[in-house]
Amino acid sequence: MAFSVLIVDDSPVMRTFIRRVMTLSGFEVGECVEASDGQEALERLRSRPVDVILTDINMPRMNGEEFLRRLEEDAQLRTVPTLVISTDATKGRILKMLSLGAQGYMTKPFSPEALREQLEQVLGERNA
């Protein structure tokens, strides 16, 4: 089964890297949509729902924290599994993002295998 994915990151090269690594990992990617910040991501999601969201934290206009809050406020979007991908490995930040509704949190650097494992975990939690 191929999953539709939304990648939210203000760095175009990071979005390209994540897309590439998902493919390298063997994770079956269907449609892959990209957004450069939380605000653009919400607009994309309202016109086209996805199976899973991968989001950065530090972004202009709407950062990852505010994006997660907006997802939680939306009855439909709050059910979409969200995986945070960040350079910040501090405990406080991880707990904060999980408390805001993220199902998973992955720190950079990460391998293709680790990304696949995390994606399967957050998708599994939704389907459990």
Partner: protein
């Protein structure tokens, strides 16, 4: 812990985390090397300032040839197929990842905000910084971290 041991530990963390980042996400094998800084004059350099529980700066310098290979490895393309601006964008991303990873390992209880990475004209090693040089197959890389305020490693 004696100061000498703490210094050795910091060096080991900076070296191992930097090498892991380069190998895991940029598919480049990094070999630690002696510092020889004449090449820094022509290096591409990026600075990341951070604040919060610690205040300071991270500096990444990469030789132009190594930068191309890093960008190509990150994006999964041949160096010849890189389009204008991509190498610089990848270096910004690499500096952000390196800074976050090294600081998280050195200070796991820290709470940091990283400023957006910025290209800077000089790769000169800041005084008082922790510093390491690496060699990739296509050229050298240097990383420096300077903590100005906040709990120090003792």
């Amino acid at each position: 812990m004696p100061e000498e041991s703490a210094g050795a530990n910091v060096d080991a963390v900076v070296a191992s985390v930097s090498a892991a980042v380069l190998e895991t996400m940029f598919f480049e094998e990094a070999v630690e090397s002696e510092c020889e800084h004449a090449w820094l004059e022509s290096a591409l350099s990026v600075r990341v300032a951070f604040n919060g529980s610690h205040t300071g700066e991270f500096l990444l310098s990469v030789s132009p040839s190594a930068a191309q290979c890093i960008a190509a490895g990150f994006l999964g393309v041949d160096s010849a197929d890189l389009v204008e601006g991509q190498t610089g964008q990848v270096l910004l991303e690499l500096s952000n990842i390196l800074c976050g990873a090294v600081m998280s390992h050195l200070f796991p209880e820290s709470s940091l905000n990283l400023d957006p990475p910025e290209a800077v004209p000089t790769g000169a090693v800041p005084a008082g910084s922790m510093h390491h040089c690496f060699y990739l197959p296509d050229g050298p890389v240097a990383v420096s971290i300077r903590v100005l305020e906040g709990p120090q490693l003792v």
